[in-house]
Amino acid sequence: MKIAVCIKRVPEMDVRFKIASSGTSVDETGLKWDMSDFDGYAVEAALQMTEKLGAGEVVVITLGPDAAQETLRKALSMGAARAVHLKADTIPFDNFAIAKALAAELQGGGYDLILFGKMSIDSSNGAVGPMTAELLNVPCVAAASKLEIANGKGTARRELEGAAELLEFPLPAVVTIDEGVARPRYPSLKGIMAAKKKPLEVKGAQLGDVRLTVTTMALPPERPAGRIIGEGPAAVPELVRLLQTEAKVL
């Protein structure tokens, strides 16, 4: 089984972001970067599938600037066989432009399964996976929390609001991965060494028109500083009074 996993390099989120002087992006000074969380689950799911079958190949693909190769190397060190870097100076916000560039690379690649994280943790659109499926004209399940592949057929579970659904689909297919599927492994030292020798192909990204852009980025209004109103059960009457008279939610 040949599996492609499309991954993205994103900033680590455990920081206080600043806005760049352009006003249209975050200031990248001092940010640390890593593979987007859900993409890690997708890489892990792909590796587990090929390991279980004892056959197959996992190819990781990313789109972005040269630094995105770090993210590909991480996936290679987890166990992916080879990597493709679709080079673009910046990653556009236009999800359809990205899907077109990915579909151009995936088309004719002979993949049985194409995985994405359900969304990137930075731009949080969750659109590129299903769009790529449409462009390739293959079935798609978005945000699968369980995924099994057997006999050329997939079964998946999706979480809905207060419910869930089970789905069936034939391969080849695109599936975007929610976090329930597989906890990503940490690269071993051996894996990190091996990754340095694995093939990483660089190509230009065929993005086309960009028709969805970020015009401004801003920090959300700060919540008023928190207030501790008291300790233990004795503070309950004051809380109830504030909920009734100040917040007016009770």
Partner: protein, 329 residues
């Protein structure tokens, strides 16, 4: 018809959902700004057209009803084709989905069929000259992006709850739409819909959410959270990722970056320290109450009202007080 706007009216089990009314409200506002009509597309099993009136109540001038047995369950491929064909045929200015679980699956498919990007998960949307612009939280809600769509049609999805469904009654004309090709021949099939506890309010619909974390110490103590939610009467129960990972609660209850993102009127965090992961899912709540034994817990930095103390003592006292307040009002 280039000034008309189409809303996708999501349904479940044969009934329009609140998130669908929110999409109609947003479509109504966009259509008013563009000088066009608001249309709502309602697909379901035969009989669904009888629900058209409810969409007129939220401002749809036209309800496009598509009745087919293959639409009884969510049918992503046939629905995407249906919506895309309707949009191509009628030449809408904009198409509005909810960024619900279903909308997150459907909207990008439709956008791709139309060859345009999707402005996803918007918390506001408006027409600005020849562009559609909106706001969208990025980087786990720590940054807000204003995005601009120059494509036509402008395809957008709205974060559930971000736009309040507002009645703007009119008696909607009904048109019909028929599936493209064989709607029953979709490659992706929903084989089973597993209903949650339907008696429970969904996290996206509830004005009050009571949420529990590891500070509850043991899964059996989650009943304190449920009892407090029951005392409010209009509350849903949520949980942190730590708690759902440990199997105390189902994954569907998880609030946070990787779970549900909610903005209720009141969010009560019980035994929750306030990891960034969790805050990303609830920081936009209107009023936040936190009960935690650790005075230094990050949740107190964003809580409007914090009580430091043992949740096993404070929560039962609060439950009793809320019950009394509700009973007395």
């Amino acid at each position: 018809m280039a000034n008309h706007v189409l809303a996708f009216a999501e349904t479940r089990a044969g009934e329009p959902r609140k998130v669908g009314f929110e999409a109609v409200t947003a479509a109504r506002a966009l259509a008013d700004a563009a000088g066009g009509e608001a249309h709502a597309l309602l697909a379901g099993a035969p009989g669904i057209a009888s629900r058209a009136e409810s969409l007129g109540r939220y401002g749809a001038d036209v309800v496009v009803a598509a009745e087919h047995a293959a639409f009884a369950d969510y049918n992503p491929e046939a629905l995407a084709s249906l919506v895309a064909e309707r949009v191509k045929g009628a030449g809408y200015r904009a198409v509005v989905f909810s960024a619900s679980a279903q909308g997150k699956d459907l909207a990008p498919r439709v956008a791709a069929k139309l060859g345009v990007p999707l402005a996803a998960d918007l918390t506001s949307v408006q027409l600005s000259g020849d562009k559609v612009v909106g706001t969208h939280p990025v980087n786990t809600g720590k940054v807000v992006a204003t995005v601009s769509l120059t494509a036509t049609p402008a395809v957008v999805s709205l974060r559930p709850g971000a736009v309040t469904a507002t009645e703007a009654p009119r008696s909607a004309r009904t048109e019909t739409a028929t599936p493209v090709g064989d709607a029953g021949a979709s490659r992706v099939r929903v084989t089973q819909t597993i209903a949650g506890n339907t008696a429970k309010l969904d996290l996206g619909d509830a004005p009050v959410i009571v949420s529990g974390g590891r500070g509850l110490k043991a899964p059996e103590n989650f009943k304190l959270v449920e009892e407090l939610a029951a005392a409010f009467g209009n509350a849903a129960v949520g949980a942190t990722r730590a708690v759902t990972d440990d199997g105390w609660r189902p994954h569907s209850d998880q609030i946070g970056q990787t779970g549900r993102q909610v903005s209720p009127d009141l969010y009560v965090a019980v035994g929750i320290s306030g990891a960034i992961q969790h805050l990303a899912g609830m920081r936009t709540s209107k009023t936040i109450v936190a009960i935690n034994k650790d005075r230094e817990a990050p949740i107190f930095k964003i809580a409007d009202y914090g009580i430091v103390g043992d949740v096993l003592e404070v929560v039962p006292a609060l439950t009793a007080a809320v019950r009394q307040a509700k009973g007395g009002s």
